[in-house]
Amino acid sequence: MMLTELTIAAAHEGLRRRDFSAEELVGAHLAAIDRLNGRLNAFITVTPEQALAAARRADAILAGGEEAPVLTGIPLGIKDLFCTDGVRTTAASRMLEEFVPPYESTVTANLLADGAVFVGKTNLDEFAMGSANITSVFGAVENPWKRAGDAETVLVPGGSSGGSAAAVAARLAMGATGTDTGGSIRQPASYCGIAGIKPTYGRCSRWGTIAFASSLDQAGPMARTVEDCAILLESMAGFDTRDSTSVDIAVPDYRAACGRSLKGMKVGIPAEYRVAGMPAEIEAAWEQGIAWLREAGCEIVEVSLPYTRYGLATYYIVAPAECSSNLARYDGVRFGRRVPGATLDELYEATRREGFGAEVRRRILMGTYVLSAGYYDAYYLRAQKVRNLIRKDFESAFRTVDVLLTPTAPSPAFAQGEKMDDPVQMYLNDVFTVPASMAGVPAMSVPAGLSASGLPLGLQVIGRSFDEESVFAAASALERAAGFTHRPAVRAEVV
């Protein structure tokens, strides 16, 4: 039995039956990391000793005979944006290269309380800013998938949660945490052939997660099945008094929602997502998804989200504006990197010049610009108004339909080096994921098939605020219909 091939749900059964121990399960994943991380660069930090110690504790609990939480002994990767007590947390930035937080983020604390074992901190775009995981100061992440007949070209895993996506796809972890600001869970999930959900804004606490854009950032799980995502989200989610934007609504049984019948569910197909120049295979995958849901008993409804076309432009005002303020704290004074200067201003300039990479600096500059006197009304204020209109688009669509179905990304994974000279081309990767982020509604990517070049393509299910259950139900149906059993070229059991 290949322990690294198991789903979380199956592994839990195996652990419960004592078919194998948590130490064996975690050990198998650590061995895979040992073998493949040098190439994939999915982890910035690996914590084998802590992981094995946690696995042994999990084994003690499992041996105790009591009902152990479903995540007991399950090896997970943690995006290196979640602060982990005593474990270096870098945001993939030189600025925090040696930063060891003395506190545990709420999301990871929730997972630990449910017995999960962290094998390490996964790579990402610096401060979660990017769509290809190429801006990490620790180097780019390689997508474990290869184009058919092309073992050489290195593809990007998507971003910003590229390390998490690559780790889960290559079977280095059974699941991982991600964060999604404009698509940072869904797009890499799509590129790496796994499932990932950005829950409703406010569902997971942001406390202890390094902020990029506070009004958009939302933690979510990434795993190889929809059910595993449901299991993980149930643990990660929940009200937290330490985050004023977290919402006090009970977390439902997401796992149960995965098996729910879709009879009578209304699925909206937003006309505006049929963008000009969309590759035929993306269009075909979308049509296939529509057909699957119709067969599952859904009613398919054409809907309109007229403000979708402003989504990306709006996002690239709101997110940089918040980031320019959120990242002001990295000033070299209290923690993190400090580059000395003769004056305070020189210390700031030197520290931030050396500490931040080009993409982060670009976004800080854009954000500072759009908030400046004389530009605020034209950019930030207008963007907020448009954001409200985008939100209303979704509200009005959800008066007639239960979920929306769209492609996750406009293309399969591209190669390292492509799209990299033009930031705007790079930003277009998020065109389908950004609107749901702007509206705060839950959205999930699920693998639907392969492109002509043999690369995974994801479909996105978008739901009403706090109705992740319908999202899980529809995504599960797509997953069953797709029967996606393809695996990446680079993975644990391939030596």
Binding site: S325, R334, F335, L344, S372, A373, Y380
Partner: protein
């Protein structure tokens, strides 16, 4: 009484608005659980939130909101049931997050009013524009080391109320009266200790001048003035500076200035061109602050009696003059002290003693009413002895001094020193006769029409009786004989 600056070409009117930063009295900071208390070793009252660590989030402290609402109610101001927090972005070493959380466009408190009274007894109403909540910054210390600066974050994140007045103030005196009145209200409410030396109340002063009837001219802001006296001085010198500029054909630049009390001048800190662009925007970490009308009513119902109401009540209930009532309500402990003394006694006698001998004694001994050597009960006990005729007013002053010196009660002193007033008419008659016998010349003068000498005879009799004679009976006896 109009305050005018006499310029070369005629009089100029002064226009002043004040922004007062008042530190909120609360156990913990505005957005974190760290202690908000003053003092403490550097960096001992600091949470990870205050230090701006990655991933830390602000959570509003309900008590600070309650304090702002109480203050708003005390300023007769509109309470906004929905307000919002914004980020004011700027870099400074003692500002850990790189932004101050403040309220820019939607403050918690709107328009209100403060009535001030001037020396000539006239009153004026100064409008309050708004009151908003914001965080204080930390403290930079540049004097600890020749090469390095140090940062103390104890104050970082402590709640401040910024109270902005309308440009209604027209003289340094009015500015002083406004600040004193505001401080009095804050202290009554228990929302700010008003301690300007410790920096828990500071003022930014906006000053401009104009000719009568003109619209406002350009103003300058004098930052962070930390005493009422300095505020008054700063306004005076700044106004003169501006008049001189206008009259010499120049124009005043809008800028931020500092007041230097040693040289009694203001100096430019930064011009409008160098002004920070604070890039205000709504803080995405915080939801709009929504409070319930019922909660506001609840807070209103527990508000203490405020100085204006108390002063009116003192006039009505105790029949004391408006001036005296004003003096007594200036500080809540004084008002409480007075009420304890006056309860069940002659309130006017009580007011005279508290404002007169008692205040003088505090001044002389450098004590405050909180650590007064004479309690309100003890002073009341002495007044009882006056009222029931045991001692007269003159003896009372001696008794009071004894009480001050050794803490005995008035009754003990009277007993020990035998100061009980003499009401025995036989003794009084005898003393009268002795005085007349000793002063035949004066008696002759009196009888020849010099009525004024009556006072002389009273004094002599009282002196002969060591001051213990009942003044009314002495008068009576003298009149009879004379």
């Amino acid at each position: 009484m109009t305050y005018l600056i006499e310029g070369r070409d005629g009089p100029w009117e002064l226009v002043v608005g004040l922004e007062v930063h008042a530190q909120v009295i609360s156990r913990s900071k505005l957005f974190s659980g760290a202690s908000a208390s003053y003092g403490g070793e550097p960096n001992t009252h600091v949470s990870l939130v205050d230090a701006g660590f990655p991933g830390m989030l602000p959570v509003i402290n309900r008590e600070c909101v309650a304090q702002a609402v109480r203050t708003g109610l005390g300023l007769k101001a509109r309470v906004n049931l929905e307000s919002r927090f914004d980020r004011k972005n700027y870099f400074y070493a003692d500002l850990p997050t790189g932004y101050q959380i403040s309220q820019f466009t939607h403050p918690i408190i709107g328009e209100g009013a403060v009535e001030i009274e001037l020396v000539d007894g006239s009153t004026r109403v100064i409008g309050i524009t708004r009151l908003h909540l914001e965080q204080d910054a930390g403290k930079s210390m540049h004097d600890q080391d020749p090469a390095r600066s140090f940062i103390d974050l104890n104050r970082a994140g402590v709640a401040l109320m910024e109270i902005v007045s309308e440009p209604d103030i027209r003289s340094p005196e009015e500015a002083g009266a406004y600040l004193r009145k505001l401080r009095m209200i804050l202290r009554y409410l228990g929302t700010c200790d008003g301690n300007m030396e410790e920096g828990s109340m500071r003022a930014d002063v906006n000053v401009s001048v104009r000719k009568a009837g003109e619209p406002f001219r350009t103003r300058c802001e004098i930052k962070n003035v930390n005493s009422i006296r300095y505020v008054m001085q700063a306004i005076e010198v700044e106004a003169v500076r501006q008049v001189e500029i206008w009259e010499s054909g120049g124009s005043v630049d809008q800028e931020t200035r500092l007041f230097d009390p040693a040289r009694s001048e203001t100096r430019s800190l930064r011009s409008k061109e160098d002004a920070h662009d604070y890039r205000y925007f709504p803080d995405p970490d915080l939801l709009p602050l929504v409070i319930e009308e019922a909660w506001v009513q609840e807070l209103a119902s527990h508000l203490p009696e405020l100085p204006d109401a108390k002063r009116q009540r003192f006039q009505d209930e105790y029949g004391i003059p408006r001036y005296d009532a004003g003096v007594l309500v200036a500080e809540q402990p004084t008002a409480d002290f007075y009420e304890t003394v006056a309860r069940g006694r002659d309130p006017r006698l009580a007011a005279n003693w508290v404002i007169g001998d008692f205040f003088a004694a505090l001044n002389r001994t450098g004590r405050t009413i909180q650590d007064s050597p004479i309690s309100a009960e003890a002073l009341g006990g002495m007044l009882d002895l006056i009222t029931d005729g045991t001692i007269n007013g003159k003896i009372a002053k001696d008794v009071f001094e004894e009480m001050l010196a050794n803490g005995e009660t008035a009754a003990e002193i009277v007993e020990r020193k035998g100061l009980r007033q003499v009401t025995d008419t036989g003794a009084i008659d005898a003393a009268v006769q002795a005085v007349l016998d000793k002063n035949p010349d004066k008696l002759a003068e009196y009888r020849s029409g010099k009525d004024k000498l009556f006072g002389f005879f009273v004094g002599q009799v009282m002196k002969a009786m060591a001051g213990k004679g009942n003044p009314a009976l002495v008068n009576e006896a003298l009149k009879k004989v004379l």
